[in-house]
């Protein structure tokens, strides 16, 4: 299967940059520690804020650090943005294969590498350094499925951002809006459970919640039922990827490729 190969090559491509992966692991872990102390201070001031205990908050913090890579939370768009800008997209468009499926396979390969080699370390460090409770194997499986769905939602979002960049002839503006939205509404900065009122409620059903808050809750055994959690992720994955498909067709029709 061609897409399996694309995914495995994307995986290996990441592996070609070991130094980058290693420094990513280090940064994510160090920042995890810093954030953990901030959250500890917050929860000591407001115990059981948002239904979390201090241990939950610390675990949450290392979970988010572990998920940075797989859901590519800082990325904004796909590498495809750059390829559209330089005109290299001509190569992608010539290939006898579905553009979106190709990039999805590529992103899954990338995410698999990030999960294995960038996600594990911060999480393990957190567990040992802060003596966090470790869930049983079933919870790990449930968590992994939720991470997979999170990656699909993340791809759906970044693919749409990429096409929007193309349609609106704007790179930085759209990408920074996308970046800020994914930082705040994913629960990356603070768990969404601490946001009160309607804003909190809304933020917990937006697609960004499916990136970090939902998988973290699955791990911690918090938040909505497992099935509701999955349902939210599936609905957003299908909606966003489906939207991407429609927009791809329209884009192809008006696509203008830059440069020689």
């Amino acid at each position: 299967m061609i897409f399996l190969r694309v995914a495995s090559y994307a995986f290996r491509r990441q592996a070609a940059y070991r130094a980058a992966a290693a420094s990513g692991v280090l940064t994510n872990t160090v920042f995890g520690v810093v954030r953990a102390y901030v959250l500890i201070a917050l929860w000591q001031a407001r115990p059981s804020l948002g239904g979390y205990h201090v241990a939950d908050a610390v675990a949450y913090c290392f979970l988010t650090q572990a998920l940075i890579g797989p859901v590519n939370i800082f990325a904004g768009g796909l590498d495809l943005v750059e390829r559209i800008r330089t005109g290299d997209v001509a190569i992608d468009l010539h290939r006898p294969v579905d553009l979106q499926a190709w990039w999805l396979a590529d992103d899954l390969g990338r995410a698999a590498f990030a999960l294995l080699f960038r996600g594990g370390a911060p999480l393990l460090f957190g567990v040992f350094a802060f003596r966090l409770p470790v869930p049983g194997p079933l919870v790990w499986l449930e968590f992994l499925l939720s991470v997979l769905l999170a990656v699909l939602v993340s791809f759906g979002l970044r693919y749409l951002v990429t096409l929007l960049v193309f349609w609106l002839h704007d790179d930085r503006g759209i990408r920074s809006v996308a970046f800020i939205a994914s930082m705040f509404f994913s629960g990356m900065v603070l768990p969404l459970v601490v946001f009160p009122g309607w804003l909190g409620g809304l933020s917990r059903v937006l697609p960004w919640a499916a990136l970090i808050q939902v998988p973290a809750d699955v791990f911690l055994g918090k938040g909505p039922d497992l099935l509701d959690a999955y349902a939210l992720q599936v609905v957003w994955a299908v909606t966003l990827i489906g939207g991407g498909r429609l927009l791809t067709r329209a884009t192809r029709r008006k696509l203008v490729i830059h440069g020689g």
Binding site: I2, H94, P96, L255, V256
Partner: protein, 308 residues
């Protein structure tokens, strides 16, 4: 193999809110038959790449019709991609971080080439293009010439009857250029592959093509063989003379002094005149420090075409 009729491509560009229309290809028509080796020549920005993109179905013509290998490129892009080979000289279809061999394997699956057929084809291309020493090297470490040979292989793995090349020799060193040219010539002569080659290097055309089409400002200015082109435009050779000291324009019968810059002068010699005789005449009457004869290049030829 290729049939283009009155093809036009307009782009709308927006800069600071103002829309302007650029006509990159302005109504061109031509046909290319099976087995031909056609050069598509033109200065930068002439519309060559845009034409290639219409031929491959990546761009849709604004008006006019385009047919390649019996298909409508923009409607049957995927089917067409399996029947033609395309090389974009300034880009690569190879994966930057993977060894060349792995990229080629991925492309084999993309084009659904059987494993056995692939191996035979790859062996053949490896031999012809000398890929052996760098098949295992990551593409980002390849020289431009090696990468181009890799890209040629990628475009030909599925043995397409038509190969379209957009500036495949751009930026290559002399040796790589020669390798690529030799290879293309053999491909055309021995396997009968139809080739359309885009370039702004007149050397490519002189060395390879029976037929040349010249495009400028989106219009076809010439379609025919190279010799006829030469005589049609009667492109003059230019003699560059460095005198010992600045002097008034050199005057020799039949020769025109077109430019004077200090001690350096440019003389144009028409085709009919013997260049050696002109050189001798100059040397007899002036103190010459250096002298050089330049054959007409693409810019001269195109300029001439338009001055006619």
């Amino acid at each position: 193999m290729i049939e283009v009729r009155d093809a036009v491509k307009n782009f709308t560009i927006r800069s600071s809110g103002v829309r302007t229309r650029v006509t990159a290809v302005d109504g061109i028509s031509f046909t290319v038959g099976a087995g031909e080796f056609v050069g598509y020549l033109g200065p930068n920005g002439a519309g060559k790449s845009t034409t290639i993109k219409m031929l491959t179905g990546i761009l849709t013509a604004s008006s006019g019709s385009v047919r390649v290998a019996g298909l409508d490129p923009s409607r049957q892009r995927t089917t067409l991609a399996r029947r033609i080979g395309v090389v974009f000289g300034q880009r690569t279809t190879l994966w930057w971080d993977l060894p060349l061999r792995d990229s080629l394997t991925l492309i084999r699956h993309l084009y659904k080439v059987e494993s056995r057929v692939h191996r035979a084809r790859l062996d053949e291309l490896t031999e012809l293009l000398g890929l052996g020493p760098f098949l295992g090297t990551p593409v980002r470490q390849l020289s431009l010439g090696q990468r181009m040979r890799g890209d040629l292989t990628a475009a030909l793995l599925h043995a397409p009857p038509l190969l379209v090349l957009d500036e495949p020799t751009i930026g290559l060193d002399v040796v790589s250029k020669a390798t690529v040219r030799d290879f293309l010539q053999r491909l055309n002569a021995e396997q009968g592959t139809t080739i359309l080659l885009t370039t702004h290097d007149l050397g490519d055309i002189e060395r390879l093509c029976d037929r040349v089409m010249i495009i400028d400002h989106g219009r076809l200015a010439y379609d025919g063989d190279l010799d006829t082109l030469r005589t049609t435009v009667d492109a003059e050779r230019v003699l560059i003379v460095d005198l010992e000291r600045a002097s008034p324009p050199i005057r020799i019968d039949g020769v025109e002094t077109v430019r004077v810059e200090g001690p350096r002068q440019w003389l144009t010699i028409p085709r009919g005149l013997n260049a050696a005789a002109v050189v001798a005449a100059v040397a007899r009457r002036h103190e010459v420090r250096d002298i050089a004869l330049r054959e007409p290049d693409i810019e001269d030829v195109v300029t001439r075409l338009y001055l006619r």
